[in-house]
Structure formats: C-alpha cells, structure tokens
C-alpha cells in the first residue's frame, strides 16, 4: 500500500494555478524526486503535504486513510518531517538546545536523540556545539536530526544539496539511503539532474504546475530529464575567442575586512585581477564571504586604510563609495534583486533610474521623464523582458524577468567592468541562458566580467578562470582548461585553505 497518495490536488493563487490536479503516490522507503524548474510548482506541492498551504481541491490519503492537514504541527504528528532549504536555527544556541526548542523536549532528551540518530544514520554532530560555529553542511545535519525527532515515515527535503560542497554530497547521499533503508520515505526536491539520477528511485517531473511525467531516473538520460523539465533542449551559450587586455581592469590586493555580523565571515587577504575580455568566476558555497566581497567591490563597504587595495582602471578606488566607482565605469548586479537591485513598489522606469540616473537622465536636478522612459524601454528590449511596459511595478515581474531587467539596466550604462552576484539564482533556465549569453557577449566586446555564483555548473560553462572562496579566503585561479568539477569541488571543501594554514 502506498504511504502517501495525492489525488487531483489543485491550488491557485489568484489567476495563477500553481498546482493543477496533481496525482502522486509515495511508497514506504522510497526516495522520490520532485524535479522541476523554479516556479514549476514544487514548493507549492510540498507545502500542501506539510500543511503550510491547503489545497483548493483534491484528496490526500496516508496509509490508506484520508489525510487532512491544516498546519505543520499536524503533519509532524502524522509522521511527516521537513528539511527546509533555508535553515531556521538559532545561531547563539547549541545543537541540543535548538532541537529541544522546536520539539518541546528537555535538552537532555534531545542530546540522547542527537547521539542516537548520529550513530544510526552517520549524522555525527556534537550536541553541545553552538550552531554559529557549524558549517552549512553540519547545520543541515541538525535540521535533519530535528526532522527525525518525531520518528517520521516521510521526510521532505527541499534542495538539500544546494548548501553542500560537491565533496560532501556523496556522504549526504549515504545518509539519505540509510534513512530509506530504515523504511522512511524521502521526498527529494531538486533541479539538479545528475543527483537525482544517482540517488532517487522514482522521479516526478513538474512543469507549470502540472506533472508531465513520472519516470525511473536511473533509466532516463540526463538530456531526456532536462527536456521533460523545460519542455525543450537546454541551449548553451556560444563562446568565441576574445582578446584579453594587457592591463587588468580590476586589481584587488590583500583585502582583509571583518563582517559587521558577529557570526559573519571575515575576508582574509583576498587578491584577484580581472582583465578586459575575460570572465572570472568565483565559486564557493554561499555563506563563505561572497556577499561581503561583493559589497567591498561595489563600494557599499568602502575600505579603510590597512584593509588592502582595489585598483580600478589604474586608479585606486578602495576608499571610494558606490557613486564614485559607478562613475568610473563599474556596474553591479546584486545577489538580492528584490531588496537591493530594485524597489518592488516602483515602476520599471523608476527602477531604471536607480542606477541609470548617471546616463544623462537628470537635468538641473529634475528627472527627464521622456529620456528615463526611453532608457527603461531599451533595457526591456535588449534583454527581452516580459512585462506590461515601462510603467509596470517591479514586483509584478517574475524573478527571471526582473533579473533580466536589472542586467539590462547595468549593461545600458556601458560599464568597463560588470560584477554579477548569483546572476541566475531562482531564474528559470530560459532566462539563465539569456543572461549567460549576455555575459559571454560582453567578454567578446572586451569588458571585464566577474561572476560570483554557487552554481558550479554555470561557472564552468562561462568562465575563463575560476577562483574558489572558502571561509573568507580566495584560492588561486584555475584556468578554464584545468577546471574540472572534482578539482573545484575539492577547493570548495576548503582543501586550499588547509594547505595555507598548514604552511
């Protein structure tokens, strides 16, 4: 008998149908993948199962009995656990205290549970350690242990590998297999095809709120899975030979900056150069100081004396703020497009003005409205942004289209150097491809491009050289020809930092 059956589950948000008559069946001990692009409806589906959302129509059954879940507490009572993509742990508390807090047991009992689960599933973690001292992978273990607290029969894992170094992934898969062998079903949500093919017994592919196929991933090729997921072949950006400039556009020397956040990562002796005509990638698992580095390079956090040097186009700019660096020809696509790259409540024209005001859109302190509209029209046309026109509010655009608009705006400023942080986060494959092609085109035009991303596949595809960031340190750059996934993967797990520390 199936452990969990979904029949005709439908959920709409206003005019958007996020889930349309979904049928799904999960067996005990099965590792079941839900595969789909961003916005395909994966999250909606799992939120319905976990009781965060209620379906508009359809039925669920659990062990053959009808299942009604109104909130996560009820889901946990049934034996459904969840490991979220973004951790919800208190950094100042210990592992045991975190587990005790969320499950309402004593710290002593939580400690026993942590030790027992650790021994049984290879989830070793010191119960008395403070969470802020743990790596992302260790924090994920805490989340899994917490989910195991209620002896679940089903665990939902939302993009669990996105926080892990490539080298940590095999170990994590071992844990998942152990769980399944013990009879616990795992709902594994991911968009990474190779992982699903290695790990999962069954894969349900979603597209635009519908289930398009349920396949055996071990029997289906990666290309076929991709085609099912996006409905067509994945295109690759076209690269041509580019001329690399003799002198670097950006030269960063020994930058050492502490984060304001007491649990943040400190940048240690970071050095890098970017020439015209090359794309330099910075790989690394997010949370290793990439955000601070981006802020330091963009000028949001200017350097103080003794914190290192940044030379842009031959001129020192380390002490300069955002406005001066932008005036010198630096453009920046930030990681957070809702809260940084755009103002959700304002129109696209006003959002174009945010950084586009330097392109002659201001006269005598007044906004040249016709020119601003024309400028934002150009951003929309250049990047093929799908929107209701220049007057549309930024929040009305999908994540991918907003990102394309921001990229278009930064490029319309004709910069000398473009810094792009996580340019394809939460962006569908079509938009990601358009952004990648644009970055490659820029390189052909002789611009310098610095891409900070935790999607290693993306970096391998477009970069000429790749640095790896780990706990605030930057590795030497690896040329494209030598940058294989295993080489970079080892660096992402910190092998170079240990070498530095040992020497």
């Amino acid at each position: 008998m199936a452990l969990l059956e979904l029949c005709g589950i439908t959920k709409s948000f206003g005019a958007v149908t996020a889930a349309q008559s979904l049928d799904l069946s999960i067996q005990p001990g099965e590792i079941h993948a839900i595969l789909g692009e961003n916005g395909a409806g994966k999250s909606t589906l799992m939120k319905i199962i976990y009781g965060v959302l209620q379906a508009d129509a359809g039925t669920m059954s659990w062990d053959g009995q009808p299942l009604h879940i109104e909130n996560p507490a009820q889901a946990r009572a049934y034996g459904i656990g969840m490991v979220f993509q973004h951790f919800s742990l208190f950094e100042t508390l210990t592992v045991a205290e975190n587990v005790a807090l969320s499950s309402g047991v004593s710290v002593a009992r939580a400690t026993t549970h942590i030790e027992r689960s650790g021994a049984r599933f290879g989830l070793e973690i010191p119960a008395a350690a403070k969470v802020h001292a743990l790596s992302q992978g260790e924090r994920q273990r805490v989340e899994i242990i917490r989910a195991l607290m209620g002896d679940p029969k089903l665990i939902i894992m939302d993009e669990p590998t996105s926080v892990l170094a490539p080298t940590a992934i095999p170990g994590f898969f071992g844990i998942v297999r152990d769980l399944a062998a013990a009879g616990c079903a795992v709902l594994f949500i991911s968009h990474k095809l190779s992982e699903i093919r290695t790990l999962c017994h069954t894969a349900t592919v979603m597209r635009r709120g519908q289930i398009v196929a349920t396949v055996d991933p071990t029997e289906t090729s990666q290309a076929d899975l991709a085609r099912l997921m996006i409905g067509r072949d994945i295109p690759h950006p076209k690269r041509a030979v580019a001329t690399v400039s003799d002198t670097p556009i950006l030269k960063v020397t020994d930058v050492t900056v502490a984060d304001d956040n007491p649990f943040g990562t400190t940048l240690k002796d970071v050095s890098l150069t970017v020439h015209g005509g090359e794309i330099v990638g910075i790989a690394g698992i997010s949370g290793n100081g990439q955000q601070l580095l981006a802020h330091v390079l963009s000028g949001e956090i200017p350097l103080s004396p003794g914190q290192g040097d940044i030379v842009f186009d031959g001129r020192p700019v380390g002490r300069h703020g955002v406005a001066e660096r932008r005036a010198a020809g630096l453009a920046y696509v930030p990681e957070d497009r809702q809260a940084q790259g755009s103002v959700p409540e304002l129109s696209l024209t006003e959002n174009a003005l945010l950084t586009g005001h330097m392109a002659g859109l201001i006269q005598h302190g007044l906004i040249r409205r016709a020119a601003a509209t024309a400028f934002s029209e150009r951003c929309i046309d250049d990047m093929d942004v799908r929107c209701a026109g220049t007057g549309a509010e930024a929040r009305s655009l999908s994540g991918g289209n907003l990102q394309k608009f921001i990229v278009g705006r930064e490029l319309a400023l004709t910069p000398r150097l473009l810094i792009a942080a996580q340019p394809t986060w939460g962006v569908d494959i079509g938009a990601a491809q358009a952004i990648h092609q644009k970055l490659v085109d820029l390189r052909q035009d002789g611009l310098g491009v610095l891409v900070i991303s935790d999607e290693l596949d993306d970096l391998l595809e477009i970069s000429d050289r790749i640095h790896v960031m780990f706990r605030g340190q930057l590795s030497a750059s690896i040329p494209r020809a030598e940058a294989r996934e295993d080489v970079i993967g080892a660096l992402m797990a910190g092998s170079f930092a240990e070498a530095v520390a040992a020497s």
Partner: protein, 355 residues
C-alpha cells in the same frame, strides 16, 4: 485564529478610502462626544462643521489656521516618505518664532521694508538649527530621531518661557511675559480685509507646489523615496543615507520655523508664552491624513483647520473645554490608522487547529 495579510491590490482610488472614512468617523465621534458634554447633536454639528463656513470672519479663521498646518505638513511628508520621523515640528516652530522676533524686538521702530523677509530667513535658520541637533545625533551616534525631536520640543518650550520672561520681555509691558508689539513692517499683509487671514496662505500654497515638484519631478525626491521604500536599494545605488537624514530634517525644521515666524508676524503680533495651538503635532496628522501626497495634504490641512475653528466656536458658544480639539485630532488619527489597516491588509478568520 485571526490572520492579517497584506493586500495585493493596486492602489489608485482606494487610497482615498481611509481619509474619507476617518473624516466621517471624526464627524460622528465629535457629535457623540459633545452630546456627552451636554450639547445636542444638531448644535454640535452646527458649531463644529457649519459655523466655520457661516461667516466671512470664521472662514477667514479657517484659512488663517490652514496656512501653518499646510506649510509644516508638506515638509514633514517629504521626510516621512523617506521614513525619517521628525516629531519635533512643534519645537522647531517655537524656535522659528523666537528667531523671527529678534529683529522686530531689537529694532522696534524700524520702517525698513526688508524687515519681514529678514525675519523669515532668521526664523527658518533657527528652525533648521533645532532640527539639525537631531540630524547630527542621528548621523553621528545613530540616536533615534523620533525621541530626540520629541524631547527637543520640551526644551524649546522652556527656552521660549525663559526668553519672554527675560531677555525678550517688553520693558514697558507691566511685567507680562511677552515681547513688545511688532512694528508694521514686521507684520504680514492681510489677505481678506477686516479679517485675520494673511498672506501666509499664499506662501503655503507655493510650498505645496514646491513639495509637489520635489516629490514628483526632482531627483532629490526620488532618492529620498527610494531610501524610505528600500534602504538596501538606496545603498546599492549609492544614495547616501546621511544626506537623506540631513535633508529631511532640515526641510522640516525650516518649514516649521517659517510657520513660527508667520504666527508672531501674523495673528499674534508679538512673541508670547503660547505661539502655537499644537500646529506642529497636528501637522503630523495632516501629513498622514493626506496620504503623504501634496494634493491630499492640501485637503487634509483644510479639514484640520475646520476642526480648529469649529472647536473654538463650540468653546465660546457652548462652553465645552478647549481640549475637545485635541480629542478630535486623536480620533482623526486613530480612525485613519485603523482604516489603513483594513485597506492595506485583509483579515482572514480560520478555525483554530486542533493540534
């Protein structure tokens, strides 16, 4: 379980609903309150909302009280849109009144026509200086400007008490705590002859135009708005937060200072212990009631002025306490905020889960 979720409806005409509801609720509440004080409902409605329009003199009083409210509210709204909360317009107005009184007290028999513009300039600088204390403390020590501006109001009042009973007191004034009467060149021209309405209203209307241009057309206004809506985006774009704080507080302080000059150079004609019937606080309500929109504020300041005059009429005609004015302002603000909750958010009821 009650859940409150933001509505995703586009604004537009809905923006007019909360102020209209608040005005209606205030009219209703005022009749009830005056009835409790022994005034029949129809009389109450007449005193508060008909009498202000019933005579040339009364209507001129409305225009007289509208001017300072309008000037201050337009300036405060610019800061509020940037989420910089200047609660100290009352104190900045007092400083403006003090600054504006210096020249006419010192040169009491002057006939120089430049007297009034000079008073206005000094008053504005005084108001700005008072607000600058808050701006400096905020940018230097990150001291909350709400608390600092609020507390500076009390200091301003004590400073005024000291000056009118000491250095600025009229030596021939039989020891009354007030300055000498201002010379004619220090007085605002009257707008409607035979009444107290003066040309401050023209300045207030000009300020409205200026505020509209600043918020809707200028790059400075855009930067301030971005800073208020999305501080992260403002930092990303390189818009300085310190500059926004200084600008917002100086604009508010300058406008309040100017309104202070217009009080002593208008209806008062001298510096007294009381130079404002709470205009600095009422203007905060006006700014919000007007939706922080220059045109909305124009209408809101008019309604607030009507309540002021209506309250005065009720006081003299029916003997209700003058604090009724303050109560009505409170009702106006509370009902407006409550209405905003229901237009900006939706309340959904769901059954309590049986966990």
């Amino acid at each position: 379980m009650i859940r409150i979720e933001p509505r995703t409806r586009a604004p537009g005409l809905w923006a007019a609903v909360p102020p209209v509801l608040a005005v209606l609720a205030t009219i209703l509440a005022s009749t009830v309150i005056l009835n409790i004080l022994g005034v029949p409902p129809l009389d109450a409605l007449h005193y508060l909302y008909v009498a202000p329009f019933s005579s040339r003199f009364n209507f001129a009083e409305v225009l007289l009280k509208m001017a300072p409210l309008l000037i201050i509210a337009q300036a405060l709204a610019i800061g509020f849109r940037a989420r910089i909360w200047n609660i100290g317009a009352e104190g900045q107005l007092i400083l403006g009144a003090i600054g504006g009184s210096l020249l006419p007290v010192a040169f009491n028999d002057s006939v120089n026509p430049l007297m009034l513009p000079a008073m206005a300039a000094i008053g504005m600088v005084f108001g700005m200086g008072w607000a600058a204390i808050a701006a400096w403390l905020r940018t230097r020590f990150n001291a909350n400007e709400i608390l600092v501006t609020l507390m500076l109001n009390s200091i301003a009042l004590q400073l005024l008490y000291y000056l009118v009973s000491g250095p600025l007191r009229d030596p021939y004034g039989y020891n009354f705590p007030q300055s000498a009467l201002f010379p004619d060149v220090a007085m605002l021209p009257t707008l409607i002859s035979g009444t107290r309405a003066n040309s401050a209203l023209i300045v207030a209307l000009a300020a409205t135009l200026l505020a509209w241009g600043l918020t809707q057309r200028s790059f400075v206004g855009f930067r301030l708005r971005v800073g208020g809506l999305a501080p992260g985006a403002a930092r990303y774009a390189g818009f300085s937060e310190h500059r926004a704080i200084w600008m917002a507080l100086l604009i508010g302080g300058g406008a309040a200072g100017l309104a202070g000059v217009f009080e002593v150079a208008g209806p008062l004609g001298q510096l007294q212990r009381v130079v404002t019937p709470g205009y600095g606080f009422a203007a905060i309500i006006v700014a919000f009631l007007g939706g922080l929109n220059p045109v909305g504020i124009l209408a809101a300041s008019f309604f607030m002025a009507v309540i002021y005059v209506g309250g005065d009429v009720a006081q003299t005609a029916a003997g209700v306490p003058h604090t009724v004015n303050l109560v009505l302002q409170g009702v106006l603000l509370v009902t407006y905020v409550a209405a905003r909750v229901f237009t900006d958010y939706q309340v959904t009821w769901s059954q309590r889960a049986k966990a």
